[in-house]
């Protein structure tokens, strides 16, 4: 099958790649572009480990075809820190020990950033519902939720 030539924007940079029509955006990110921060957990849209932003919407990149990236704008976990300066969410995940194995962490961070960009002062309930599509099988959710709420407070300047 002929590969498609796709022109897109990833973390603000213009990017071109070749992919087959059957490759998912997650496959392209990891196996073609070597952006391996987005993880494959379930590959069926249940776990959220592959979460990215697609034209400003939080999506599972395992449920997007690579060819659909044509002309779109994608943000991945690789765009979250500025050089060595971590995003407040990343810093708070470290401080609260909101991760153990770390496979779910990029997805949680991308999803949590999407929430705080829309709602800088979410309630705990809002955080829990927003993150219901991100599964963690080792840390448990309490530390993650606390880290998100603490990062939100810091970002509001409290």
């Amino acid at each position: 099958m002929a590969k498609h030539h796709v022109t897109t924007t990833i973390n603000g940079d213009p990017v071109e790649f070749l992919c087959t029509p059957a490759q998912t955006l997650l496959d392209v990110l990891r196996d073609v572009l070597y952006l391996t921060g987005s993880k494959e957990g379930c590959a069926s849209g249940d776990c959220g480990a592959c979460s990215v932003m697609l034209d400003g919407r939080l999506v599972c990149s395992c449920l997007v075809l690579g060819v659909e990236a044509q002309g779109r704008s994608i943000e991945t976990i690789e765009g979250m820190a500025h050089g060595d300066r971590l995003h407040p969410l990343q810093q708070k995940f470290l401080e609260h020990a909101a991760l153990q194995c770390g496979v779910c962490t990029p997805g949680f961070l991308v999803a949590a950033k999407a929430l705080l960009d829309r709602n800088p002062d979410p309630t705990e309930t809002e955080v829990r519902y927003w993150l219901a599509g991100n599964l963690c099988r080792c840390t448990g959710y309490d530390k993650i939720v606390r880290a998100v709420l603490d990062a939100a407070a810091e970002m509001r300047g409290n």
Partner: protein, 293 residues
């Protein structure tokens, strides 16, 4: 498998016709990509409908609302005028999946995936939504309740697809609501789902009602006997009891891990009563959020 992203309805119709059943439409992809990966479907061609302007966005006019079939649930949920006019429809489609799924899943996909338990469908049936369908024979209008014919099966002919949905402008003193039962608080498939829409006259008597019922039969149902139990009444306790009985009587459910036949039949009546109470309060003009999730 190849991929095409046509820019017009006609191009999409022609592509689907040229592949004579071996092409599959793509909107949000939240069901299709899972089926592709599992090998449940293996199309020669995927026709992405999202670049077609008529498939995208929400428009309001004097007759009501038009929703492009590939519009994501997240986009629909942000449309304040639609949420004010048809809160039950918007609540229902916002129950579909996670935040990530909401960002992609489309109203057309939730209908045409043809799950008996699709959350948006009973609410759309109650609202009297009509689908615009395009295909090799031209365009036609189909009421939502006529689309799904069985689990995974629709009445769409080969090469047809849903272009958009029309929701009428609500009459004065109208309200709608949707409730579903799931064993958890979020991220599950309905054991029962009920949508109710009703209109009252100035004296508070119900003049119009529609009841949609999901997850208790091979297809989502329009339950006319349940609507009849409300019409002509003040939606009092007796009418609500009659509504519950008619809703339970319409169920033809299966036993599965989410619920037994007897449980589903019982719960359908209870949920119908609660959903109707919320729709009633909305029709009376108080703004009420449905209390279930």
């Amino acid at each position: 498998m190849d991929y095409r992203s046509p820019g017009t309805v006609k191009e999409a119709v022609d592509l689907l016709a040229a592949h004579n059943g071996a092409a599959h439409v793509l909107a949000g992809g939240t069901d299709l990509l899972v089926k592709l990966r599992a090998g449940v479907v293996a199309p020669e061609l995927v026709v992405d409908l999202k670049a077609i302007p008529q498939l995208r966005g929400i428009a309001a006019d004097a007759n009501g609302f038009r929703i492009g079939a590939a519009t994501s649930c997240a986009e629909i949920g942000e449309h304040a005028a639609l949420a004010a006019a048809w809160p039950g429809v918007v609540e229902a489609l916002q129950l579909i999946g996670s935040t990530q799924i909401q960002g992609r899943a489309s109203l057309g996909g939730n209908l045409c995936n043809a799950s008996p338990a699709a959350d948006s469908v009973p609410a759309l049936i109650a609202a009297g939504a009509v689908c615009e369908v395009a295909g090799p024979g031209g365009e036609r209008q189909v009421p939502v309740e006529k689309i799904v014919t069985g689990p995974g099966k629709t009445s769409l002919a080969r090469g047809e697809f849903v272009v958009g949905f029309r929701l009428p402008k609500p009459r004065a003193r109208s309200g709608d609501a949707y409730l579903r039962l799931i064993p958890r608080t979020e991220m599950d498939i309905a054991v029962v789902g009920v949508g109710v829409a009703m209109t009252l006259d100035a004296a508070g008597v119900c003049t119009h009602a529609r009841v949609g019922l999901g997850a208790v039969a091979p297809t989502p149902l329009l339950v006319e006997d349940a609507a009849k139990a409300l019409i002509g009444t003040r939606v009092d306790a007796a009418a609500l009891a009659a509504l519950a009985a008619a809703t339970s009587a319409a169920c033809k459910p299966i036993d599965d891990k989410r619920g037994t036949v007897a449980y589903r039949i019982k719960v359908a009546g209870v949920l119908a009563r609660r959903t109707a109470q919320t729709a009633l309060e909305r029709a009376r003009g108080s703004t009420t959020k449905a209390t279930g999730r």
